[in-house]
């Protein structure tokens, strides 16, 4: 189980990194999201993998470590804020530069309406 879990985290990381290295803003955003999943899973797993052991007092005999869960919970929300910021930055960059290249090279695409 542990090996499979780490394999998944590794694949998520690798896919995220690959997308992060693309030259257009949208894949970078998707890559960041994937990397975010990987990081959250990694952090979460530092408390160990427990089945049927929610950290609610009285519900289970040996509850899972609640601290990584609390940390990851806020990390998910912060991750959303960051994604939102990057998305809007990308839109703004395209609006101002006419291109969605991450280095802000002046535009080459033509599907502009206004």
């Amino acid at each position: 189980m542990e090996a499979l879990f780490s394999l998944v985290v590794g694949v998520l990381t690798a896919s995220g990194i690959y997308l992060l290295l693309r030259g257009r803003t949208f894949p970078v955003i998707v890559g960041l999201a994937l990397l975010g999943y990987a990081v959250n899973l990694f952090l979460f797993s530092s408390g160990g993998l427990h089945t049927d052991a929610a950290a609610v007092i009285g519900e289970s005999f040996a509850p899972a470590d609640p601290l990584p869960q609390a940390l990851v919970l806020t990390a998910i929300v912060i991750g959303f804020a960051m994604t939102a910021f990057v998305v809007i930055l990308a839109i703004r960059a395209r609006g101002d530069l006419g291109s969605d290249h991450v280095d802000g090279q002046q535009g080459e695409d033509g599907d502009m309406l206004q």
């Binding site: 189980m1 780490s6 609390a70």
Partner: protein
Amino acid sequence: MSLLWIPLLTTVGVVVPAMTSRYGRKLCVAATLIAPLLALALVLLHAPAVIAGEVISLRLSWIPLLGLDLALRIDGLTLLFALLILGIGSLILFYAGYYLSAEEDDGRFLAYMMLFMTAMLGIAMADNLILLWLFWELTSIASFLLIGFWGYRSDARRGARMALIVTGAGGLALLAGILLIGQEVGSFAMADVLAAGNLIRTSQHYPLIVLLVLMGAFTKSAQFPFHFWLPHAMAAPTPVSAFLHSATMVKAGVLLMARLNPALGDTALWAVSLSLVGLATMLYAAWFALLERDLKGILAFSTVSHLGLITLLLGLGSPLAIVAAIFHIFNHATFKAALFMMVGIIDHETGTRDIDRLGALWSMMPLTGTMTLLAGSAMAGFPPFNGFLSKEMLFEQSLLNNLLGALSIVIPLLVVVAAMLSVAYSLRLIWSLFFAEPKLTREQKAQPPLQAHDPSRGMLAPGLFLAAISLVVGLFPMTLAAPLLNAASLAVQGETTPVFQLALWHGFNMPLLMSMAAVAGGVLMLRQQRRFANLAALFPERNAGLIFEATIQRLIRATLWLTLRLENGSLQRYQALLILSALAMAAIGLTQLENLTGERGMQPLDGMLFLGAGLMIFGAIGSALSHRWRLVSLLMLSVVGLSVSLTFVRFSAPDLALTQLSVEVASMILMILALFFLPQRPPLMVSGRRILRDLILAASLGLVVAMLNYAILTRETLAIADYFLRESVPGGGGTNVVNVILVDFRGFDTFGEITVLTLAGLATFKLLNRLRLFMPAGNIEGIRWSRHRYPLILAVVAQILLPLALLVSVYIFLRGHNQPGGGFIAGLITATALLLQYMARGYDWTRERLPLSYPVVAVSGLAVALATGLGSWLFGYPFLTSAFGHFHLPLIGEFELATAMLFDVGVYLAVIGATLMILVNLGRVTTVNRPTLEEH
């Protein structure tokens, strides 16, 4: 407590000149003088006790974890320095009132001077090494500001920068030395360090400690080869030179060496380094003082030379040599400050500082002349001035030294040579300025002769006063100086303070003979000054300033080259470098592990796990492969997101699963919206090599991360989970430990997080302002968007769903403290429900029915959370302490209320506000309600 008032008074004094400068020069100076004079009075109140041998100290805990305390002390050495800093400082502030021309910004100048005074007092009073270092750096900064006071002059800017770099770098070395000392001793408190001398001297780091501490002291006190900044610092206004660069700041280095003498001194390394560096500095600088033409340059080099003298005495290290060093610190401050004031007066009255242009001023400026005669004689070491006494002591102690074995005799010989030079440049100052005719060039002769007269009494008084002190102390040393010296040497030498006799006349002995030789040699040298100058002119001029500047320029070029190498404007490249270094770090970490699999066995697998893992791997790789088909890529991403949420369910994290699920909805809406504004299918413009490189990078990092994760998962980890599980119900009043951690145990973190969330929302708000939009008219196949913007079925369903969703979110919120749920999740559910209305009915329709300003919602959420946290102060508890209780209501029964719930309301509102702020505003830009500049 009155100890604390001394630096506090001068700190308050920093703002006084800035506030009073508009009421005119006289009032401003008078008001500024109040604080240092009061502080001086406070110091003097402590003087009798200190002279009796007491050490008065005060300790307030500041950052105990770092060993940093606000600890102050007054012992003999502090007393001496406090008198110099506050006494000479007040005289110089008074003098500066006359020196600065009417249009100059006296408020700023005096404020800087007060800042320096505070910092210097701090060095003298600090009873903790880290605190001492803080003030040490503050003096460097004050000195930078003061040297650069005339910032429109390039020499002032260069001098200021050079002084800051040299003394600042020395300060960093000193910090390293202090940290090493702290490591050896286990404390930064002065008393502990001074008592641990044997421990430090025998430690293996001792040579390094000495090197680092001396780097700090030598740069500050302008010892060879770091002396070069001091002559360049003379670009400062003359009161600054008198105060910082002769009387006090440059003494910080020797103060430090004296202060640490019990801890570091008394070894051959210490003695030889100090004596040789001091001797070299003394000789070298005295030679240049004799050649220099600029009056301030002469005084600057002479200051360097005298600092060398003090260092030499500290290096000789015998009890009497240390007394002499302390005595000379005082003597030098008095006569040199007076001489600087004299130069300021002459510059002020004649408009030049060139010694060759000036001459025969005695008849025009008799009072300035008297001042120079007195102070200059003290500097030359003539009887009956105080300079004579300390110089005689130096002669005597240099004869007794045994530092270099059979070669020891060299030291007294060289000391006499330096003394001759000192006599020569002192006499040159007096003679050339006031008695000799000026040595003018032909063009200068054509100009009208200089006309000058003594300045107003106010400008003369401080200098005359100091000059008089150097005479009176010379005449009555046992009455005036001995008690203070005794106390100061007690501070430096501990119990073994020597009995000494200060007198002008000790009978015919070797030191007297050396003094006579120095005078005779000095007079001879002065007569040959022209020849020396011609001789020196044969050597190529080595301007330390230019060399320093060239070094700095080379350094800047090198860093620029490196920066341009690393920073070529390509994000992809930065990321590749970043990932590569992360890879290297992680790989190094892995090599430290003996084997990858830890001691804990693996849990068994089941079919569901395989399915989930398969889905996630499929989604992740699919999303990476299809990144040019953006909608597909996004759908693949959502597969991963949902599977992550299921993973959390499987591994006992219901709160995480709920959060992930609701965030997933919001972020998918966001990204689909983004897709609308970004190109549908970008051109392919990537080389195969680039793809290969990225694949290798991505795969290796993925592998390393997987291995790290595996290594962690198969090991037992030390967790603090037990604490939270145990304390959750009794301490936080909730059974859902995750939620209790969020709103109670680590509520401060959560507060930070919702702040970040709100800030991100506000930032996107700003970014959408005046956006130029690219809006496609149809999809990528060229099919136009449907004209029916709001599908009927969705609208109807959304309307039915809204109350249900709100109900669910309230339920989730209320049970959050005890069951999975809470403010974060409830907020996201509410936000999604509202968002659905926007999507189904459009911005205008929803806006009409729900006229909410989301920034206001988010900020009020923050305010509620903050108010809850601050509320606990009212009851005398630390920030965010929660209280809870059980209540009974008829019909509903027993229930529980906790203040943490109120905090969670804040979280709830902030999450709704921020999420909708982001999404609604982004959606809004597609409508006619797009924000424009006029709106803000």
